[in-house]
């Protein structure tokens, strides 16, 4: 399946990425060639085949409901770009 420049821009925005205008055509062509590569799957009949999520078909283990984490705010915020009063700062959130 091919994707055009506007399609690539739309998907990029969904992924919160920007693509320079002068690179959009090239990106669209590259992405299209990748999609063409993966489209070879479509010829395969997979009717009734259960998707494989874990190669050993393992199941989820459950954790006891016990508090194991102490406050580590100082440490965990050590790499945060903008913090004030223990809060992560972002441009104003408008609802």
């Amino acid at each position: 399946m091919a994707i055009d420049a506007s399609g690539v821009k739309k998907v990029a925005k969904l992924a919160r990425l920007s693509i320079d205008d002068d690179a959009v055509e090239v990106t669209a062509a590259t992405i299209s060639s990748i999609l063409e590569l993966v489209d070879s799957m479509q010829a395969v009949d997979t009717l009734g085949v259960e998707p494989l999520a874990h190669p050993l078909d393992a199941i989820q283990r459950l954790r006891p409901d016990q508090v194991t984490e102490e406050n580590q705010r100082e440490q965990l915020q050590g790499c945060a770009p903008a913090v004030e009063e223990g809060l992560f700062l972002v441009p104003r959130v408008i609802e």
């Binding site: 969904l14 919160r16 992405i31 998707p51």
Partner: protein, 506 residues
């Protein structure tokens, strides 16, 4: 890093001169461990030797992103004390390097990305924690394709890694830094991760031994995720025996990783010398078809002949869906990656753009500035594959094909004990020769991807040279059959000396 001119350096740092044959850095972990135990050398001396070699040679090879010199010497001194106190294991005092996607507390963990150039991990990954607890010395963090996306190590914010055998060649990827560091004897061993071949292929290209264990054998806690259902950490070493020693430390259940399996960990060194008499090796006809370089094929066939001499039987098997591993992988991995990498948003850690004017601007500029081209490409492909209307045709379809691919292996293993073949269609290609053609690069992963999709263990051992560059033999086993793979690799290395060869560094 201040480059020390080779002439000023101690002669013992070289392996080009013959005045000290088989110096300590040219020994395996097994040998170094015995030398540490006998007191022939101290961990501090051994560590210093590697640090010196890194300073001498890595400016050119670029296999390290961070060298933790002070920490390494501190850990080495502690290891020596521990040894003196009689509390040592095979890894105590052995200098190793970790791929820069294992979180290491207090040490930069960049994933080869500008996005994490400023990220000092506040916690330790399970794998690096196990090495630390065993008393291993961390020399530093190795270069890699950004977020482990790549087969050539050209996609690093910190520049490409050069193949120590031929500096015009790629070392392979994404664990290219680890492979090059071990090949150039800048570390006794290294950790890598393998999502679609990222341990086996660079091991093959750099002439070293590399193992991708069964999915779930090694904990992924603290390993920055590329594709969660495929990522698996493993050892990169100079011999199968060393890989067994490192895997003894790495493997095991971890209750912090839901996908990690609670399966007994054997002593991988205990069965290294078992006989190969009666072993049945399956050769998938699909792996010896058009596209495989004839020199590579010759080396693989030579290696298989060697196994026949060791008592193994060879038979042809079929993996009918083998070719589908490329489309399936290049949907599943980008899809998972597109979601795994959403957390890099400039809010809690990582790169944040200057003066964002609003939230959208913060997200878009931080991510667009922080991620490199290949990462963006895969995020876009993955986002597209998961977007409305395409999920069934892409992600679900790929997961169905994944089951077909796994079942092919399970069927093949009814007829043989292990499967052998190449790791890559060619030996290492030239730096820059494929960087404008991602699809061609993806196609070169044809022999390694399906092992990840099926969750199987795979081992690459050096098996000769093709076009003057190393070639590795890939050995694929059944789930949890790591001990047998290491045994098979070890017996080959007892009979051949490809793994003992090392590149001449000047």
């Amino acid at each position: 890093m201040t480059a020390l001119s080779p002439v000023e350096a101690e002669p013992l740092l070289y392996n080009t001169t013959s005045n000290r044959p088989n110096p300590m850095y040219d020994k395996t972990i097994a040998e170094q461990s015995r030398a540490l135990a006998s007191g022939e050398i101290s961990s501090v001396e051994l560590t210093q030797t590697y640090l010196d070699r890194i300073r001498l040679f890595d400016g050119d090879i670029n296999s390290f992103i961070t060298v933790t010199e002070a920490l390494a010497l501190e850990q080495a001194a502690a290891a020596d004390q521990r040894r003196a106190a009689g509390d040592a294991n095979a890894m105590t005092g052995i200098p190793v390097a970790h791929k820069d996607l294992f979180c290491t507390q207090g040490v930069k963990t960049s994933c080869g990305s500008k996005m994490l150039d400023n990220f000092i991990a506040p916690y330790e990954s399970t794998v690096t924690g196990k090495f630390r607890d065993a008393g291993a010395v961390m020399l530093g963090k190795t270069n890699m394709d950004e977020f482990a996306m790549g087969s050539s190590n050209e996609n690093s914010h910190y520049g490409p890694v050069k193949n120590p055998w031929d500096k015009s060649a790629i070392p392979g990827g994404s664990s290219g830094g680890s492979a090059a560091a071990v090949a150039a004897q800048l570390a006794a061993g290294a950790t890598g991760t393998d999502t679609g071949g990222s341990i086996r292929q660079p091991a093959s290209h750099c002439g070293i031994t590399g193992m991708k264990p069964t999915y779930g054998r090694v904990s992924r806690w603290g390993m920055v995720a590329y594709a969660s259902s495929l990522d698996q950490a493993g050892p990169m070493t100079r011999s199968a025996e060393d890989a067994a020693i490192m895997l003894n430390t790495m493997a095991g259940f971890d209750n912090q990783d839901s996908t990690c399996l609670d399966h007994e960990v054997p002593d991988y060194t205990a069965t290294l010398n078992d006989s190969l008499e009666g072993l049945t090796i399956g050769l998938p006809k699909e792996y010896f078809a058009a596209g495989l370089d004839s020199e590579v094929e010759q080396q693989i066939r030579n290696a298989i002949a060697e196994y026949e001499k060791l008592g193994a039987n060879v038979k042809e098997v079929s993996l009918p869906n083998a070719r589908l591993c490329i489309p399936a992988y290049y949907v599943i991995a980008p899809a998972e990656a597109s979601s795994n990498l959403s957390r890099f948003d400039g809010v809690r850690f990582g790169h944040r753009c200057e003066d964002p004017k609003d939230l959208m601007d913060l997200y878009i500029r931080s991510r667009s500035e922080g991620f490199g081209e290949e990462v963006k490409r895969r995020i876009i492909v993955g986002t597209y594959a998961l977007s409305a209307g395409y999920y069934d045709a892409y992600y679900r379809k790929a997961q169905q094909i994944r089951r077909l691919i796994r079942d092919d292996f399970l069927n093949a293993f009814k007829e043989c004990d292990v499967i052998m073949g190449p790791n890559a269609p060619t030996s290492a290609f030239d730096i820059g020769s494929m960087s404008n053609d991602p699809v061609a690069m993806y196609l070169s992963d044809i022999y390694t991807l399906s092992v990840n999709l099926a969750g199987l263990p795979g081992l690459s051992v050096p098996a000769g040279m093709a076009n003057q560059r190393p070639v590795g033999l890939q050995i694929i086993g059944q789930h949890f059959d790591e001990a047998r793979l290491l045994n098979i690799g070890h017996r080959f290395q007892q009979a051949t000396d490809w793994h003992q060869k090392s590149p001449a560094l000047v």
